[in-house]
Symmetry: C3
């Protein structure tokens, strides 16, 4: 089940990579490369930091899902623009799964609490960060949207739940994901933004 | 013999890094750093993804070849501009060797077929990608030239040959490299380009 | 003692990350992420290249020092601009410690001489390089300041001292750091610059 949600996230991220690449006028192969990096980049950085084997390297199904997402993004890119809201839902599901998977992987390798939460956020957001750097833009997560905050809070929620005796229960998993999805959805609906550094004090 | 070709590739990539750095008005050390990253970056990413030791870290000869290439690039940078076509030949030899070495390394570590081919392309092209990102440009391989396609096809050619019973024979190795070199040369001569994403359909 | 100096370096680098982020008009979380990457990025790349465990992943104290530095940077960012010179001193202490720690780590893992010196420079400067890439600027170390040269020379100094029979003595450590600090300070005071590539010959 978590696996299915992971695929939904990869699929949505691959579409978002392809659409960004189309906006920057890249060629088809460039679009696929950006789609791969958007979908798999966050998990790759997580695995490199953990000095663990990189997960997608041995997962044919993950690679095929990304190729499918990128292809759908290329073919339906005009229609997808009017489905923006639908896409954003998939994307939100994606970051919620990636966050929890990242925290879990950190926990399973005995990372510090704070490191595990960071790994969750990195899994969910650094693919998009690499996408933006490669497309020569200042990463979106630094500026315009509440993106990483739900990941940090949801990861903390999972972590606290885990160590307050709930263990790795299905219930904890779903409620953490629901927390991230709800928070992110409210942030989009009400255009929540973090204050800029220069607005501080 | 493959080692000599590897050095030719590193030498050509180091020159290309130094020339790009000169165009962006960097200082001498910046030129050397870009030369190193251009020449060794693709192989470094390949090794990190494979969770293997990074090859150049223990190879004095590779480091010296890169220093030599960068120095030649700096001293003869004006002449090299008129030798553009010659340079492009070295560069093409470089990507053909890097691709096959990448696929081989993937195979030797039991990667998936598709992953091994990707590793070949990454070895050959991601050094240039890092060069462009550091010089604040949208990577060339996403836009202007057929660069990565010969690597993907040549890597597949090698892979299929390998598993259709030819094993790691010299003959397979040379014919895969010849394939990449021929394809890339034709692409340059006839200005082949991939369609842009927005030209699709 | 070296640990305290390491913290001073992390603290100064975190401030510099936050100030750069403020200049680029990022939000608060973006500022913290840039601060982390500036302070810990160089050491992370060093550890990845060495195929070693990433140091900060298990160091709560390093993470807290970076958070403290970033917070100080955010709160006092206006005052810090007039303290530019003071900041530059911390920063210089930082690169001197990071360089020597990088060379030491290379030596302890039996790296080549040249690789160990490179690792020193990478530890000290690639955090700032990542900061600049993420803020969509051409890295500072390629252009405006003598930054990496003191690291390369100081790292070589340490290396030569180490193998000419001094071993890992306190005396060698301090004199290498003093060398880097003195060189870098003179470079700032007298506005030393490396020649551009196009000025060569």
């Amino acid at each position: 089940m978590l696996e299915v949600l992971d695929y939904i996230g990869l699929f949505a991220f691959a579409i978002s990579g392809m659409l960004t690449a189309a906006n920057r006028n890249l060629d088809i192969l460039g679009g696929y490369i950006i789609a791969f990096i958007t979908a798999l980049g966050g998990g790759t950085i997580r695995d490199l930091l953990l000095n663990a084997d990189v997960a997608w390297m041995t997962s044919l199904s993950q690679l095929l899902v990304v190729i499918a997402g990128a292809t759908v993004g290329m073919i339906f890119r005009k229609k997808l623009r009017s489905w923006r809201r639908t896409l954003s839902i998939f994307d939100t599901v994606g970051i919620s799964v990636f966050t929890i998977l990242g925290v879990q992987k950190g926990l399973s390798l005995d990372a510090l609490a704070i490191t595990a939460v960071f790994l969750g956020m990195i899994s969910a957001t650094f693919g998009g960060l690499l996408r933006d750097v490669l497309c020569n833009e200042i990463p979106l997560i630094f500026k315009k949207e509440i993106y990483a905050i739900p990941c940090l809070l949801g990861g903390t929620f999972y972590f606290v739940g885990y160590y307050s005796g709930h263990g790795d229960t299905t219930w904890l998993l779903w409620s953490s994901m629901a927390f991230i999805i709800a928070f992110r959805t409210l942030a989009v609906l009400f255009s929540w933004k973090l204050p800029l550094i220069r607005e501080f004090k």
